[in-house]
Amino acid sequence: MTSDPALSGLTGSIIHDTIVPARAPWLHHVAKGEVLRIVDLEGNQAVDFLIYSAADDAERYSAQDTVAAQGNLFLRTGSVLLSNEGNALMTIVDSAVEYHDTIGGACSCESNTLRYGHHTRYQHACVDNFLEANLTEGRGKRDIVSNINFFMNVPVEEDGTLGIVDGISAPGLTVDLRAEMDVIVVVSNCPQINNPCNGFNPTPVRMIVAAG
C-alpha cells in the first residue's frame, strides 16, 4: 500500500521514479506499453519534451503531424503524439491540466537574444539541455525539432497573435503518457526566467515510469 498521491492511479509496478532538478535535462528510454507520469511538483513548470523512436531515431515527434491529425493545436487527454512518418509514438492517457502546448517550441540562447535582448545570451535555455542529452546518444542539432511543452499555455488569438502566458497548472498536477512503441524521451525542465512559462521561477519535476 502506498500513500503517495503522486502514484495514484498507476496500475503497473513502478520501474523508475526520479526528480529532475530545476533547469536540468533528462533522457529516458520508455518501452512500448509503459506509462510515463510527469508531476508538476510546484506548479506551472514547463516541461519541454521530445520523443524519438528507439528503433530508428530519424523518426521522431512531429508537432505538425500531431496537430494536423487531431485538427486542434492543444494537446489534451486522448491526444496521440505522432511521428514525422505518421506513427503513434505516445498517447496522453490522462491529464489533470486541461491542455498543453506544442507550438511554442523550446527556448534557446539565440532566440532569447531576439525575444529579450542580447543581455540574456548566457542564461540557461532548453535547446542546450536538448543538445546535452541528445549528444550522449549521438544525436545532434539537426535532431531537434518542434517539441511539446507540458504545463505551458500558448493561446492563439483571432488575428494570429500568440504568446506564452500565465499557466493553468498547479502544484501536484500530472500528465500520463503511454508509449505506443519503444521510445526515447528527451526532456528539458525549462530554465526560462523571462516569461511566465515557469512562473518566473524554475522548479523541479518528478518523472515516474510504470509498467504497462
Binding site: 530519424a58 512531429s62 508537432a63 505538425q64 503531424d65 496537430v67 494536423a68 491529425a69 485538427g71 486542434n72 493545436l73 492543444f74 514525422n84 512518418e85 505518421g86 506513427n87 491542455y99 507550438i103 511554442g104 517550441g105 523550446a106 534557446s108 539565440e110 532566440s111 537574444t113 531576439l114 525575444r115 535582448g117 542580447h118 535547446v127 545532434g140 542539432k141 539537426r142 535532431d143 531537434i144 525539432v145 518542434s146 517539441n147 492563439v156 483571432e158 488575428d159 494570429g160 497573435t161 500568440l162 504568446g163 506564452i164
Partner: protein
C-alpha cells in the same frame, strides 16, 4: 526495326527529345518576360515551374528575391530552408511564430532560423493564406486519402518530396524539419481547432521573398495535408528568382519590430568576417 536497337539510333532517339517544351520544367538559362520594373534580365538566376506533386531545391545567395506564383489556384509551396554554409542551421517554425508574437505569415514577416537569424523575409504577399501549423502530408496520410502516396506513384507526399529535395544537397531524413506552407492556409479558432483554408483560389497569386542569408530552399508542391477534397488537387507552381542587394540598415521590414531588428543584427554579425 525498333528505333533504339543500337547505340547510335538510341542516341538519335534521345537527342530528338531535346527541344521539347512543357509547362512544368526549369528554363535554363532563365528567361522571364514579366520581371518587375527595374530588374535587369541579366540578374535573373532561376526560372522554373514545378509540376503538381513535384519538388525542387536550390542554393540562392543573400539578397536574392524569390517569387512564387500559384499558376492554377491549387499550388501549395511547402518550404524548408537551410543555411547553405552550415545546414544544421535551418528554419525554426516555432521560433518564427513565437518571436514575432504571431502565427500568420504575410508581408513583412520573417522566416527565422534556430540560431536567432533571419533566413528569408516576405516582402509582398498577394495570397494571405498560409500555414505554419500543419506541415506536410506523409506516406501514411496520402495512402489513407488517395490509396497510395509513394514518390514513385501518382500521389507523392510532401514529406518524401522534401526528403528528396534535401537529399540533393547532401541532407537526409533527419534534416527535414517542420515547414511552412505558402498559398494553402489555416485559421485557428478560439478553442484551438484548425480550419483549413484550401481554396481553390484565383490563378496567379504571388508571394515575394528575400533571402537574408546564403540559403538552400527546398520546395514541395503537393496537396495540403488537410485538403478535404478526395482528389489529388495540385497545380503548377512557378518560381522566379533574381539577384538583389543585401538588406540595408534603413529597410522597413528589417526595422518593423525590436525582435526582428535583433534577428537582423544577428544575421549581419554572421557575415561580419
Amino acid at each position: 526495326m525498333s528505333g533504339t536497337a543500337d547505340p547510335k539510333s538510341a542516341r538519335e532517339h534521345a537527342r530528338a527529345q531535346g527541344n521539347i517544351r512543357v509547362e512544368t520544367m526549369p528554363i535554363i538559362p532563365p528567361v522571364a518576360d514579366d520581371l518587375p520594373e527595374g530588374v535587369a534580365p541579366d540578374d535573373l538566376v532561376w526560372e522554373e515551374t514545378v509540376a503538381p506533386g513535384g519538388y525542387t531545391s536550390r542554393r540562392i545567395a543573400r539578397g536574392t528575391r524569390l517569387r512564387l506564383i500559384d499558376k492554377g489556384g491549387d499550388a501549395c509551396a511547402s518550404l524548408n530552408i537551410f543555411n547553405a554554409e552550415m545546414p544544421t542551421e535551418r528554419l525554426n517554425v516555432a521560433d518564427t511564430v513565437k518571436v514575432q508574437w504571431n502565427a500568420y505569415l504575410g508581408a513583412g514577416k520573417l522566416l527565422l532560423s534556430d540560431m536567432g537569424r533571419v533566413l528569408m523575409a516576405i516582402l509582398e504577399d498577394g495570397a494571405e493564406t498560409h500555414d505554419t501549423f500543419c506541415g506536410v502530408s506523409n506516406a501514411a496520410t496520402n495512402t489513407r486519402k488517395y490509396r497510395e502516396g509513394r514518390n514513385s506513384g501518382a500521389y507523392p507526399n510532401g514529406r518524401d518530396r522534401l526528403i528528396l529535395g534535401a537529399a540533393k544537397h547532401g541532407l537526409t531524413r533527419r534534416d527535414v524539419h517542420p515547414c511552412v506552407n505558402l498559398f494553402k492556409g489555416t485559421r485557428i479558432e478560439a478553442d484551438g481547432s484548425i480550419t483549413p483554408v484550401i481554396g481553390p483560389f484565383a490563378p496567379g497569386r504571388t508571394v515575394l521573398l528575400r533571402a537574408e542569408m546564403e540559403v538552400i530552399v527546398v520546395i514541395a508542391n503537393c496537396p495540403h495535408v488537410l485538403d478535404p477534397r478526395p482528389e489529388y488537387a495540385s497545380t503548377p507552381l512557378r518560381i522566379t528568382a533574381w539577384r538583389g542587394p543585401v538588406t540595408p540598415d534603413d529597410d522597413s521590414v528589417r526595422n518593423a519590430t525590436p525582435e526582428g531588428q535583433r534577428a537582423y543584427l544577428n544575421t549581419e554579425d554572421n557575415y561580419r568576417r
